[in-house]
Symmetry: none
Subunit: 212 residues, 4 copies
């Protein structure tokens, strides 16, 4: 009743709350979608009452936007810094980026965001555009640079990097979407390490210069 843990519930945690709430909300939005997620579920999972949500967010929609924004922004910065520090031949660079991406995104709650974005894009076009500009565009620029380096060095065949970037990235996107949808219904597929290995082999073969 008055044990120290109980007391903790009453600690003022103004700073920690928003992050606790967006974390809980992310899980549930990814699982059920925006409309089907109830606010009390989010509150319950964050360990607070319904009313508390409204101390930090002006409503369900505001919370949704915060979930997307707050989840992505730190990751983006980190991601670009990481890539800037990588070196080596284009093929190895591509491999490293792919493996790192899966570590940082695939295995991580925020890996649910792509599914969420695609599912809710038409209900929240501004969010979709925000995501397109801040995440997809930045990611594309990064890969395009790698491709270009490979083409210039003769490692890759000549092609227009802008045209291939979506195609090349698709298997990773699909995998992370799958992970948060069919995977959870017991519809499994190739283990991730094999998936990535085969993906890299197929893709690099597809990009490499003809041996002739």
């Amino acid at each position: 009743m008055a044990c120290p843990i109980e007391k903790f519930r009453w600690r003022r945690r103004k700073e920690a709350r928003p992050a606790e709430l967006t974390a809980a909300a992310l899980d549930l939005f990814v699982e059920k979608g925006f409309a089907a997620t109830r606010l009390d579920e989010i509150a319950a999972r964050a360990g607070v009452s319904k009313g508390t949500v409204y101390l930090y967010f002006s409503g369900k929609e505001d919370l949704f936007k915060a979930v997307i924004r707050e989840s992505l922004l730190p990751l983006l910065a980190e991601g670009e810094k990481l890539v800037a520090s990588m070196h080596g031949p284009a093929g190895d660079l591509f491999k490293a980026i792919v493996m790192r991406w899966w570590e940082m995104v695939g295995e991580n709650p925020i890996g649910g965001i792509p599914k969420l974005i695609f599912a809710e894009a038409r209900n929240f076009p501004e969010i979709a555009r925000f995501y397109a500009e801040e995440v997809i565009e930045r990611g594309k620029r990064l890969l395009v640079a790698v491709f270009r380096r490979g083409i210039d060095s003769g490692e890759f065949r000549p092609f227009d990097p802008e045209l291939l970037v979506h195609i090349v990235f698709s298997p990773l996107m699909m995998r992370v979407i799958w992970k948060h949808s069919l995977d959870c219904c017991g519809v499994t597929t190739v283990p991730i390490d094999i998936y990535l290995r085969e993906y890299l082999e197929l893709t690099l073969r597809g990009l490499r210069r003809d041996p002739a």
Copy 2:
């Protein structure tokens, strides 16, 4: 008032109703998701009153299941028949399947189903499993057969077709999902004909046997 032609037209109407309803529902479910779609809207788009929906479907969920089932089954049969009638080298066969698939699925309201499935899988696991077994599995078998033929004939390098099938198909899935989400928010990408051309080139290069 009760002249035969009227009656006839009415009769035809009556038989067409379920299909009109599932068509309307498909559009809206794809656009907004299951939970955010109101039954009134579906009824209105199908040109009937809300009560009429309950004459043909036992509820919203039943309608949802019908949308998936009714949309896919005819297509599947047609698809398999089509493939059975195709001939030629594995590479050409693959190209033909891809182009045909885009025609039949990509450009067609049912192209929205993948997005819908991925979005709602966790809310409707049975539907997800139905889709996995009836659509994905059958599609996979088909592609696997093509791969196998290519490997046996020496056209493709030796690989395990089961491991690559998801990876190979991902760019098509992503494209059709994109079309029904970000595309509608003004986030566009490479035109479809170029996308398919580059996709085929990349993929076939990735699959082909080493020239050595």
Copy 3:
């Protein structure tokens, strides 16, 4: 269970409903004020469920506005027609108007509207202005005309009718406000017939020309 009266509940009464709802709402808004009146009370008093209110009004505020508008407009037309048909010396005319007003407004649910308007004016300024223009202004014009006639005929002393009209009408307004507030708390006052008699005597003495 299936007695005719029960069946009546299911009769479609699209035409009657709005009036039934505004009547119920008027009573409750007058009794408790806008904010303190719950929508289910209104619904219950009108014999329908909460949801039904939203078939006819877009929300509580819309219902409030309808209550004021629908209650006043018929009365205004009737009132002006009535006055146009009256004749005789200004004093008698004034008496007749006062008596008629009490009959039509004082003893009638809409007699609660003035209290409601004064109480909610600052929360609903548009409504207040609507009332001022459509009701108060029209009423004022009417009394001013009577005053003017009395002044012209020498029955009343010379005065500026515009300056006196509010003052003269106040005891009637106060009485109808009182009736819907303190009266209901057991704080009673002079019976209405005596009140009106004394009011007329005092006022006409105040308006009459000096005998000299």
Copy 4:
């Protein structure tokens, strides 16, 4: 930090708190009504936090009652003393009381109380009865005494003062109610000095003895 002056100022603050709160509450209750006024607003206007209100009042309703009581009681005492000190003919006395009343009530936040009482009477019958007994009754007795003196001295015509007192006072009540409702919505009327002048003329003519 704990210097005597600080302490002193703080002490004075502590003693002033209830009055600061009731003053803030009076304004807001008059403006919006009891139910539509939020406790946060009151606290904010008084420059304290929401919790502080509960140090001085047991709840919103208690605060409301305090607002009425505390506002009225000092005024009543002052009012009666004032009247006791007045002399002269009944007509002059009446004029003086009216002018004084407007100064002390009309131009003063507590002038909002009548509107508040009439609006909330049915939600707070005890308050209404308190007001009726402590304010209205005392005011009536006062006016009745003046009337009686005028009748006895032959200045006024013979009438039953009890019957006329409400009627005579109505224009002042209406004016103060109007000031806190329609006036605030831009619905203005005759300037107050003219209003009072005309009111006095009309009323005294109505009360005066026939010259015959």
